[in-house]
Amino acid sequence: MKNIDKRFAGVHALKGVDFDLYEGEIHALVGENGAGKSTLMKALTGIFPKDSGEILYLGQPFNPKGPKDSLDAGIAIVHQELNMMDHLTVAQNLFIGRESMKRKGKGWLLDEKAQNKRAAELLSRLNMDIDATEKLANLTVGKQQMVEIAKAVSHDLKVLILDEPTAALTDREIDDLFVIMRDLAAKGVAMIYISHRLDEIGVITDRVTVLRDGEYVGTEKTSELSKERMISMMVGRVIYEEPKSHSMVAPDAPVVLKVSNLNAGRLVRDINFELRKGEILGFAGLMGAGRTETMRALYGADPSTGMIEIEGTPVLIREPLDAVRRGMGYLSEDRKRYGLALRLPVSDNSVMAAYNELSPTLLLSLKKLEDTAAEFVDKLDVKTPSLQQLVKNLSGGNQQKVVIAKWLIKNSKILIFDEPTRGIDVGAKSEIYSLMTELAAEGKSIIMISSELNEILRMSDRIAVMCEGRITGFIDIEDASQEKIMHLATQRG
């Protein structure tokens, strides 16, 4: 792949990226969130067509129009989330869409027997210890992943792309997977291996290509590349704004929120942290580190165990309702799904959390509600033609402001901002930044999840870094650097 360019509306996602892959090679593709790894792979498999540049495949120009083209040509991708049918057997999953038929494939009836035999042959050829007639749901995640790989390989494959294949696997299963990968490589299959786990990359891959902000940084032999060097290649990004130089929190500021031993499933494990009055605590980490899950558990949106203290008092939070009553507010990373009632007007959305305070009477005092909404719409400078405008017609930045208004009207003390500037244009971004700084100065405490290191460094007074469901470390803003964060973010806890 040479000089690949891809633009989306307003975003230059790939800027002249080069990538080459040899037969039988395992090639790692690494980079931070949003570095362009997935986009590059989507260009290769034809999910998004590239805008310019060329792909040479087996020496021929290759322009896939869709995943089917690339699959026909022998390029397959195995995603992190499995795309298979739980209730069907392994064999049925392997050959879905190209089932064995009776009468030598010409009949009308399925030939399950022949298909099972075919599947068993395939699995044993790949040294996979899996029963072809077992229902997929009865297999472990690791085995399911292998079935997915087997399915890909059965398409007479030349290139296999593995997107975060080990994220859900145990160490044992990872070892098994690596054996199978080496086996495939020996058979001449080239593999592109996308992972955040830098240690694994050192073990399994032959070469590493690093992307950063859609740009090609370099390709190195794995044996000649240290983990530190890899990290510095990944993060060496230009910083446009100066990071915060020192914490703005008063040294004697009281602890508002204390979380001990919070657990909730695979992605929230033994979380301990404190949040002080007026502090902005940044949560950094790579995709799938469990930051959103942690906050949802803390907020009562998902069931969890652990101890939560607010202003020194232990509290039981079983539902978001409890959290809201205790003065917490949550700004979801997916505001359309979790933050706003899109078909309701700006006014209804902004007062949604505060009906009890604003109008305790049986009949709502519409004027009070409207006035309050108007006051905060004005204060936050939400650009809307009227309060009756439906929220879905606002721009991303203004929608986000409506969510913030909701929590300000409720007068929440602890605000959780999950990716507050995602999908928002630059102007609105800096407005939201200054708003957050103002709120912290007023004594509100803010937890900010962000996948942009820039944003983390610019806004946080202190940074918590997560990896695979655990907090791997805290960094004070005075000592923080991109390298330190990335080091903790790739360190398995």
């Binding site: 083209d69 026909d72 978001p320 078909r343 209804d348 009890n356």
Partner: protein, 417 residues
């Protein structure tokens, strides 16, 4: 990926909403006038009373179902719950010898209990509303039959002792002039429901839940409680409907009532309440219910019997839902403009501005000049647009042809391999 940070012009969608609001009342008036002109003996006081009479119970059910549908749920059990409540009340009066007022209270109580039951299944145990209320439909049907011992319950006929409650729904003066007080009762209830939906916390939360349950929950709304309350309202309305039914029809048969809920839902939907939740109004439901009643009373006046009535009701329902879907689709559509279309929109914008400026001008000569300019711009725009568009179309055709050619080459190469 960054979403395009532009505010879409909502004018189009606003218009659609107003149109929808007006469409149902307009349809009601048109249908009524149509039958008044073409139907035999339709335009009379008796027929009007008939129309109003036949709508009480469906009307009450419709009000309740509107609450439920706005939360994004459905209540398939309201019809049978209504009849179960009525027959149990009748049994209490006739067989167990309860006083009339207590029997009527029992009817309300039974309705509310079933509402709680539905609400519990759906909001606490997480059953899908369709399944939960389908189950309750059968359970209530059975309960009515069991308690009444599969015997019909007869309420006292008009004039008999204990028939006072009938006057709630129809007041007959000593000189035999009947006045449909039930309609007033229904309108009163509809008004109360309207206030609850638009002016109370409960109403706001019901809309919020229907619009986005997750967001409502994360905003600290007690989703379980308020979702439950919608089903309880539906149950209460079924109870009131049961009393209305007993008043109008006197005899309540066992195992009756399946199908009534569909008329209630149909009325709600015709009135513009969206089955996906988050939008709707009681006023709309009332109009929807009366559209069906007018059809029911009007079609026989044109010598079309009952089977035609169900047929046309079905047509109206399908039409109403289609309209709703079309409206939502149009409101949420993102149009991608080609350069030619963009150019046209821009020029049309400037022309609109100039036209506005035109009305501000007072001097005749200036007006003429501006008019001329506008006309020139229009002509130029049309010409340029046509040219650009035809080029674009040709380019598109060329691309499609190229792609086909490319596919052929790929296939040939694959075949060679």
């Amino acid at each position: 990926m960054a979403e395009a940070d532009t505010t879409r012009v909502p004018a189009d969608q606003k218009k659609g909403l107003d149109m929808q609001k007006l469409l149902a009342p307009l349809a009601l008036v048109i249908i009524y006038v149509f039958f008044a002109i073409f139907g035999r003996n339709f335009f009379s006081y008796t027929t009007l009373v008939n129309i109003l009479d036949s709508s009480y119970y469906i009307g009450f059910l419709g009000i309740g179902v509107t609450f439920v549908i706005i939360t994004g749920g459905i209540d398939l059990s309201c019809g049978t719950v209504m009849m179960a409540a009525a027959i149990i009340g009748g049994t209490a009066y006739k067989t167990w010898g309860w006083p009339m007022w207590l029997s009527l209270l029992l009817i309300l109580f039974i309705g509310v209990i079933f509402g709680f039951f539905n609400g519990f299944l759906i909001s606490r145990l997480g059953l899908p509303p369709f399944i939960a209320t389908l189950g309750t439909q059968m359970v209530s049907l059975g309960t009515g039959s069991i308690i009444s011992n599969v015997r019909s319950a007869t309420f006292p006929a008009r004039g008999a002792p204990d028939s006072w409650f009938k006057s709630f729904f129809k007041y007959i003066t000593p000189n035999d002039f009947s006045f449909p007080t039930g309609a007033l009762l229904l309108f009163g209830m509809a008004f109360v429901a309207y206030i609850v939906l638009t002016r109370t916390k409960m109403g706001r939360y019901i809309f919020a839940i229907g619009s986005n349950k997750d967001a409502a929950r994360l905003s600290g709304v007690d989703v379980k409680k308020w979702e439950m309350s919608a089903y309880v309202v539906s149950g209460l309305m079924a109870g009131i409907g049961g009393i209305a039914f007993a008043a109008v029809y006197t005899t309540v048969m066992p195992a009756q009532g399946a199908g009534f809920e569909l008329y209630a839902i149909a009325g709600t939907v015709i009135g513009g309440t969206s089955l996906s939740g988050g939008a709707g109004s009681v006023l709309g439901t009332m109009i929807g219910v009366y559209i069906m009643s007018v059809l029911r009373a009007g079609l026989p006046s044109m010598d079309l019997q009952a089977q035609y009535q169900t047929f046309f009701t079905g047509v109206v329902v399908i039409g109403a839902v289609l309209l709703d879907i079309y409206r939502i689709k149009r409101a949420s559509e993102v149009r991608i403009l080609t350069p030619a279309q963009q150019y046209r929109e821009e020029v049309q914008g400037t022309i609109a501005e100039k036209t506005q400026a035109l009305s501000l001008l007072t001097e005749e000569r200036e007006k003429q000049l501006l008019k001329g300019e506008i006309a020139r711009m229009k002509a130029e725009m049309n010409g340029v647009y046509r040219q650009m568009r035809s080029k674009e179309r040709a380019e598109q055709k060329r691309q499609i042809a190229q792609e086909k050619e490319f596919e052929k080459i790929i296939k040939r190469e694959l075949a060679q391999k």
